[in-house]
Every structure is written in C-alpha cells, then in structure tokens.
C-alpha cells in the first residue's frame, strides 16, 4: 500500500515526539534522577520569573519538593504572576516546541519553548501521572486543570478542568508535577539553583519547602529591573538559512524594502550598498531571489558598515542589584561589581556583568554562571565564562590559585542577551565566542583590580598589626634597660611604652620605615671586604 508524502510526514512526526524525548533526555536535562528534579524546578521557576517580570509584578515564588515514595516526588511551583488564560494552557504545557519566546527577539529566560512541556512529558513517562495546573488571571475565577500529552499526536489531553470561584481574586500559576527523581543538596542541586536565583534575582522572594525543611530567600530590593524591549534581528547575525526563510515570509515587495523593514538599523543607503556589493537588483521581489543571490547578499553584509543593534532590548541586572544579591545571600566582607557596555556577537547584542565577593561568610571559592539571570549549574568546563575566569592571572590580583581562585572568592558572571549562544538545548553552558570571552575577561579584570586594592588594604592592616607586635615584643627589654639606667620603675616604663605604641602606632605607617638610611651606606660595603677593620677583625 502506497502512502502519500503527507501521511509519511505525519507518521514521522508521531514517532519522533516521544522518541525525540527519549533520545535527547540528556540534552533536555533529564540524564539522571537527581538532575531531573532540578530541571523541573528550573523550568517552572524560570517561567514564573519571566511571567511576573513581564507583568511588572515583584515575584513571590513558592517551591515545594515532597517525597511520595522512594525516588518519587511531588514538585510544586507557585508564582504570583498574571496567570494563564484557559485557552493557552494546552499549548503551553502540552505541546513541545510551542512558545511565545522562540519567534521573538527579546531577552528572556526561556528560548526554545521545549522546557515546561518537557517536564509534563517526563512526569508522564516516569510515573504516569498527569500534571496539575491551577491558575487564575485575577478575575475571581480559578481553573484547576489536569493535563497530559498525547505523544502520538503531540497534542495536549485535558483530563479534567474545574472552575472555582475565588473571592480574593488571586492571580498566578501553580503547577504540581509528580516525577521520578532523587533529592540531594550538593553543588548542582535545587537548593544551589534557588540560592543562585536569589542572587541573580534579588527582587524575587523565594520560599522553598524542601524534604529537609523550609528555606527562605528573602527579597533584597523592592524594584524590578527595567523591562527589555523587543527588537528586530540585526543583519550581522543572519545566516543563509534564516535569511531564506525570512525572504519567503516577508510582506515586503522589494529586496531593499525587505532589508530596511525586517532588520534593525538598516537604512535605505545601507540596503542599496548591500545589494550593489552582492550584485543584486534592490527592486527585485524577495521571493524571486535565487539561492546564490542570498549567499551573495549574506556575504555582502559583512562588508557593509552597519550601526550596532539597539541595546534597549537588554535588561542587565545593574551593579546595585548584583551587589545586593551577593550581599544578602553570601554575606561577604567585600563586593566589587562591574557592568560592561553592551557588545555584539554575530549581530546579537549582549552585555556582561561581573561581581566578585570576598571573605565574610564565604569559605569556598566558587564561580557562579548566569545567562539572562538563570544560573548555569552544569557543563562548566565548556562554558565561555569558565574559560574567561581561568584565563585571569589571579595571583596578580593578590588571589591565590593558578587557574581558578583558591581563596574564598565567589565570582558572579552574568551574560544578558536576546539570544544567548548556548552549547546545547539543555542551556547549561555558553558557547566560546571570542568577543564574549573578551568582554567577560575585561569585566573580571576590573573587578579583580578592585579586589586587589581592597586586599592590599587588608594586608596592609595586617602588616600594621605585625609592626605593632614588634613594638610590643621589644618593650620589656627596653624598659628593663632604661629602668636600670635611670632608677625609674620598670613596669611603669614598660606600660608607658605600650601606651605610646597603642596611641601612636597609626602614625607609624606614615613614617619612613626603612633602614636608618644613612647607616645603610656602611663602610663594610664600601670597602668591599678588601680593606678595613670593619670586617670585625680588630674586635676578635
């Protein structure tokens, strides 16, 4: 029996959705049971933060992990965001590769639209349990929905939809998953993730009921970061494939019109220059371009000087937020923060922010990596941030350690971008673009300089203390000798010397503290051992 091409395509897709997940578990963050719990919490919390921020609401996030039986957990994530309309629920939670964020260019946490529906699917595969979603948009009606995914059709299946009247007009989303997993509190854990979220989102209030008890991450600042804007793509970042697709979809009627209307920062002159360099008529209908024309256009773009993309699409944390986050969660004795100006990699604007926290309650060195405020806990070795950190000569800044610091230093690196170049779908490490590494290094160096100057102050203070101890050490014998010479009471002299040391030691640092300078020029050196009783000969 013959199949039509359409039938084949449908079958192909039907098989691939569940198979895709099974085959790509590791890419999606479900390689093991410990990590699975983290991935679920992460996807839900990221969405909660994105939603609250977009609605300009200070986030209140509640996370609960409860052990139901061995290796089976209930995970609850609740936010105070704007909520979801009932119509959206199936699409958001029940369809892979559906998302509001995939097609737009605006800085946000999620990008590919695979995350939260992946959680639903994981739960379904491992425990057979549907996902429960409770949501309200604040109009007094709360929906309780039980949902699973029809893997064959890649379609959501609503098992139950209950409406409750709510007089308090709560708004937000509460999701309950039941998943196979193992709960741990080591370095790459839910706990560490939430702690880092608390640092990078100091305006969020997070309460975590873990299997071991409640942990609260209190809000540190009472304002939200500025809202990022959506932008059109910039030509420098466009490849032939994307360009071809955009040419097919555009409503523009000429190539020049296409270039000026679909991309940011392209004027009429630039558009015409690109066409001229590519040898293509600017008035040609976009759909009529040959493949070779597209290749030539993309090549020509590189030769034309274009204004950088606008950077108001970025939402950096800002020095104040970073410092507040580091201070409230780590209680360090010193913090330095540097926020770089926006830069561009392959046409995408990005911005690097770095904070260094030192000492205080920090006992272990750590590197905390963030992309659009999301902590990156895995694949540190492949990450541009790690690479940049290891390329810093920490010793030059008074910090022990050859590649990574060994002193109690926490390094915070945040990359904000409309399109973070992750190494994989699991979004755990940033690709090694030279311009990104360079920006991170510059910021790290600036922070490290501030730390070095602080440390030299601290060490100077230690040196002063050492000096003081020298003055005290010799007080006893000095006092004894003076007492013998003058007949004055030894204790009285000694106490007075100590008193002088304590009262006047601050001025010591300002005094010349070298040798008795003129005596350094001793005849012994002058004679160079070749003449003179200064060798001590006459005294022997």
């Amino acid at each position: 029996m013959q199949k039509t091409a359409e039938q084949m395509a449908r079958e192909h897709r039907e098989i691939s959705i569940s198979q895709f997940f099974e085959k790509n578990r590791h890419l999606l963050g479900y390689d093991n049971k410990i990590k699975a719990l983290l991935t679920i919490v992460r996807e839900a919390v990221d969405n909660a933060l994105d939603a609250t921020e977009e609605a300009r609401i200070l986030p209140d996030i509640y996370v609960k992990i409860e052990e139901l039986e061995k290796e089976k957990y209930k995970i609850v994530v609740k936010d105070n965001g704007p909520g979801i309309t009932v119509k959206q629920i199936p699409n958001i939670f029940g369809k892979l590769l559906y998302g509001s964020k995939f097609h737009r260019l605006k800085q946000s946490r999620g990008q590919q639209g695979i995350g939260i529906s992946g959680c639903v699917l994981y739960c379904q595969i491992t425990t057979g349990e549907p996902t429960k979603i409770i949501t309200s948009t604040g109009k007094g009606k709360t929906h309780k929905v039980l949902l699973s995914i029809d893997v064959k059709k890649n379609e959501p299946k609503i098992l139950k939809d209950e409406v409750i009247e709510d007089a308090e007009k709560w708004h937000g989303v509460q999701i309950t998953f039941v998943a196979e997993g193992i709960y741990r509190e080591h370095k790459q854990s839910v706990l560490e993730y939430l702690k880092q979220v608390a640092i990078s989102n100091p305006y969020a209030n997070i309460v975590f009921d873990s299997p071991n008890g409640r942990i609260e991450f209190a809000r540190g600042v009472e304002e939200l970061p500025k809202e990022p804007k959506e932008i059109k793509p910039h030509l420098y970042g466009v490849e032939v494939g994307i360009m071809t697709r955009m040419l097919e979809e555009t409503k523009a009627r000429s190539l020049a019109g296409f270039l000026t209307s679909e991309f940011s920062r392209v004027g009429k002159q630039s558009a015409e220059e690109i066409c001229r360099k590519a040898g293509v008529d600017p008035q040609i209908m976009p759909r009529k371009l040959e493949h070779q024309d597209v290749v030539n256009i993309v090549k020509a773009i590189k030769e034309v000087k274009l204004t950088r993309p606008p950077t108001d699409c970025l939402s950096p944390l800002g020095s104040g937020f970073i410092e507040s986050g580091l201070r409230k969660e780590l209680n360090p004795e010193f913090v330095a923060v540097v926020s770089r100006s926006p830069e561009v990699y392959r046409g995408w604007p990005f911005q690097v922010e770095v904070g260094i926290a030192y000492g205080g309650s920090i006992t272990e060195p750590a590197v905390m990596r963030f992309a659009n405020r999301v902590p990156l806990l895995y694949q540190a070795g492949d990450c541009a941030i790690t690479k940049a950190v290891t390329e810093i000569e920490w010793k030059r800044y008074g910090v022990a350690g050859s590649k990574l610091p060994e002193d109690p230093v926490v390094i915070f690196v945040h990359l904000a971008s409309v399109w973070v170049p992750f190494n994989s779908e699991a979004k755990e490490s940033i690709a090694n673009y030279p311009i990104i590494i360079k920006e991170i290094k510059l910021a790290l160096q600036e922070c490290a300089r501030k730390l070095a100057s602080y440390l030299s102050g601290v060490r100077r203070a230690a040196a002063i203390k050492e000096k003081k101890s020298i003055f005290e050490r010799y007080a006893e014998e000095t006092a004894t000798a003076i007492a013998e010479l003058t007949g004055e009471d030894k204790e009285k002299i000694r106490n007075k010397i100590i008193e002088i040391v304590n009262e006047r030691w601050s001025e010591v640092t300002d005094e010349a503290n070298g040798e008795e300078a003129p005596l350094a020029e001793t005849p012994t050196e002058e004679m160079n051992g070749n003449g003179g009783e200064e060798n001590g000969r006459e005294n022997e």
Binding site: K467, I470, F471, R473, Y474, E476, E477, T478, T480, A481, I482, E484, L485, T486, E488, I493, K496, I497, E499, I500, V501, E503, R504, W505, E507, V508, E511, A512, N513, G514, E515, E516, A517, P518, L519, E521, T522, P523, E526, M527, N528, N530, G531, G532, E533, E534, N535, G536, R537, E538, N539, E540
Partner: protein
C-alpha cells in the same frame, strides 16, 4: 684647648654620666608620651670628611635618628639601651670586660618568641661603637676591651700599672699590645728608639725581630697582624706624639696593604670619631711599592697578577682624597699599568736577610718614602 674641646674631654672623663644622661633623655620622652629617639652620629662614608689641616679623616655633623616606633629600628633601639645599661653596670663594678663577654651578658631569649636579644656578636659590636660615638668616648672608658692583636719589640720601657716591661727583652714573641693603652693604664718611657716601623705581616715582624733589626737600627718594630686593632694604632699614635718618633709603615704592595697604611695614617671611616687618637698623619710609607721591582731588581716571577677585586679597589682608592698626593696617584697608576702586586715575602727571593740588611736600611737612609 678651646671650651668645646674641654667640654668634650670632661664628658670623656665621665662616660658614666653620659650613659645616664642617655637613659634619662629616653625616659623623659617616654613619660611625655613621645616616640623615643636616640641621635647617633652617622659613621659612614657619607658623613666623613678629610681634615686637610690635620690630615685626618673626621666625622661630620650628620646624625641619624634611631626611633622606637620604626620597625627597622626597634630592635636596635632596645639593643642600644641594653648595651648602655650594661656598660654602666660594668663601670660601677670597677671591672673590665671583653666585648665578647658583653655580648654573652646581654644575649637572652625575648619572652614568648624564638628571638634572642642579640643573635651574634656582630650585632653588639656596632652598638658599642654607636655609643662611643654618641657619647664621644672611648670603648676603653666604658671598661670594655677587645682581644689583643698587635706586638711590639725594641728599646722601650712600658709601665703597665705596677709592672715594668722592657720591650727589648721580650724574646721572640715581643710585647703583646693590650686593647687599652690609654696613658692612665700604660705609661711609656723611651729607651733610645729613633723611629717606629709598623709591619703588616707577623711573619716579617718575626724575621726582623730575629735579626734584631730594632737593635741595629735603634727602633721599635710593631705589627698589627693585618689591619691593626685600636690598641696597636693608639700605641703608634702615642709613640709619635709623646716622643716625636717618625713612623714608617711596611706593607705588601697591594690595595689591602696600602689601605692598612692609610688607616694608620689618617684613621678609618668607621672609627672616624677617634682619628685624633688612632691616626698618625706624619707616618710615612716605606714600602713595598711596585716601583721597587725595578729599583731592587726583584724577579718578575715573584709578582702576583692583579685580580678584578684589586683593580676595582685600586680605582676606588685613587678617588679618596687622602690618596690624592701625586706620589700615590703615580704608584696606583703604575700598579694598574704593570698589572701586578707584590708580597713582602717576595723580598726573600733576594736572600733571607735582604729585607733587614739592604732594603730597609737603604730606604731609610735615602728617605725613599711615599707620603
């Protein structure tokens, strides 16, 4: 004697008062809550000058300040007070002690540390010199003495307290010159000596003693065994001052030997505050010089090639103001140009008695000296 000098002499006669004054000044500063400090003359090349009139190296007026609240000074400050106190004790007890005894008397572990008050004697010796210079006194007046080093033989009667010593009857060893030869301890009586010959090397001194050179030439022979100690320098100074005896110096023909001569003649940089007592500006250099090689037909094979240190040192010495006389400039230049030096023993290549029977008598007779 000017009033200034008289006052200095008075202080010298009572170092005990000087030490107490030092203690009292420091105590006063401490009681006033000031950072205690001791002023010390700088004993270094930067603070000496050549007194053209008296032809002596003199200590300048520059002072260094040793303060308690300076990490580089604190230890030395303590040591200075300790040495001052110990000296006062020694004087009060009416005993004399060696500078090594003093070092041991003061060496102890500082409580709660692994540090000693003095680690080596070379820490305490310079402190003694500091106090001598600060109080403008002599180590001997602080009842301190060093090991003897010098020897003397010849026609001289020495009165050491109640003992009378005839330096012409001291056999092969000679009279060992004590550390303290100040007039109140050692009284001298000339017994017909006409000049003093100071010899760098003990072996050569023994040769001349054995040959009874001092008897034949009516002189005194003195050795400091290398760089002469204070006692030796002071006795030479007194022999010249008290009896008007000419002083001739015999050393190796090398920079080290020439510098020994210069220290005997105009004093040293380190002890420049004692130049009046230790220097003998009228001393003359009798030999050896590199010119003697040709003058006396000394074989070239007994000369020694100058090394880098010799050349460097010679060049330095040429710049010292007290080596500026043209005879010395000529000798130093000559040494550099021929490129060799000469030991006293090299004269033995002309026969074992060449030095006592030919070289020295001829030099003295011809007055063939360097200034």
């Amino acid at each position: 004697m000017g009033t200034e000098e008289r006052r200095m002499e008075e202080r010298m006669s009572d170092p005990r008062r000087g030490l107490e004054e030092l203690g009292r000044k420091v105590l006063e500063q401490i009681m006033q809550m000031r950072n205690p400090k001791i002023e010390l003359p700088i004993r270094a090349l930067s603070n000496i000058y050549f007194d053209e009139k008296r032809k002596l190296i003199r200590l300048g007026d520059r002072k260094s300040v040793r303060t308690y609240l300076n990490v580089a000074h604190t230890r030395k400050f303590m040591q200075t007070m300790m040495v001052a106190s110990e000296c006062r004790k020694i004087i009060d007890q009416g005993v004399t002690t060696s500078i090594r005894d003093l070092y041991y008397a003061l060496k102890r572990t500082i409580p709660e540390t692994k540090e000693n008050t003095f680690e080596e004697q070379n820490e305490s010796d310079p402190i003694i010199e500091d106090i001598e210079a600060a109080l403008n006194t002599l180590r001997e007046n602080l009842n301190l003495k060093a090991d003897r080093k010098g020897y003397l033989a010849g026609n001289m009667i020495i009165r050491d307290k109640e003992d009378e010593i005839d330096a012409s009857r001291m056999g092969s060893s000679g009279w060992a010159i004590p550390s303290n030869v100040e007039p109140d301890n050692i009284k001298l009586q000339n017994n017909g000596a006409e000049f003093v010959l100071v010899i760098e090397k003990d072996a050569v001194w023994q040769r001349l003693n054995e040959d009874k050179f001092w008897k034949k030439q009516n002189c005194l022979i003195v050795t400091g065994k290398g760089q002469p100690d204070r006692g030796t320098r002071r006795i030479v100074n007194r022999l010249h001052k008290e009896f008007g005896l000419p002083v001739y110096v015999l050393t190796d023909a090398d920079p080290w030997g020439y510098y020994i001569y210069s220290v005997l003649k105009q004093g040293s940089i380190n002890l420049s505050f004692l130049s009046d007592r230790l220097g003998t500006p009228e001393a003359k250099f009798i030999g050896l010089t590199t010119r003697d090689v040709d003058k006396y037909g000394i074989a070239k094979n007994v000369t020694i090639k100058l090394n880098q240190g010799d050349i460097k040192r010679t060049n330095e010495m040429m710049n010292y103001i007290w080596f500026k006389p043209k005879e010395w400039q000529d000798e130093l230049k000559h040494m550099l140009s021929v490129g060799y030096k000469l030991e006293l023993e090299a004269l033995s290549s002309k026969g074992i008695k060449f030095i006592s029977e030919k070289y020295l008598p001829e030099k003295i007779e011809k007055r063939d000296f360097l200034p």
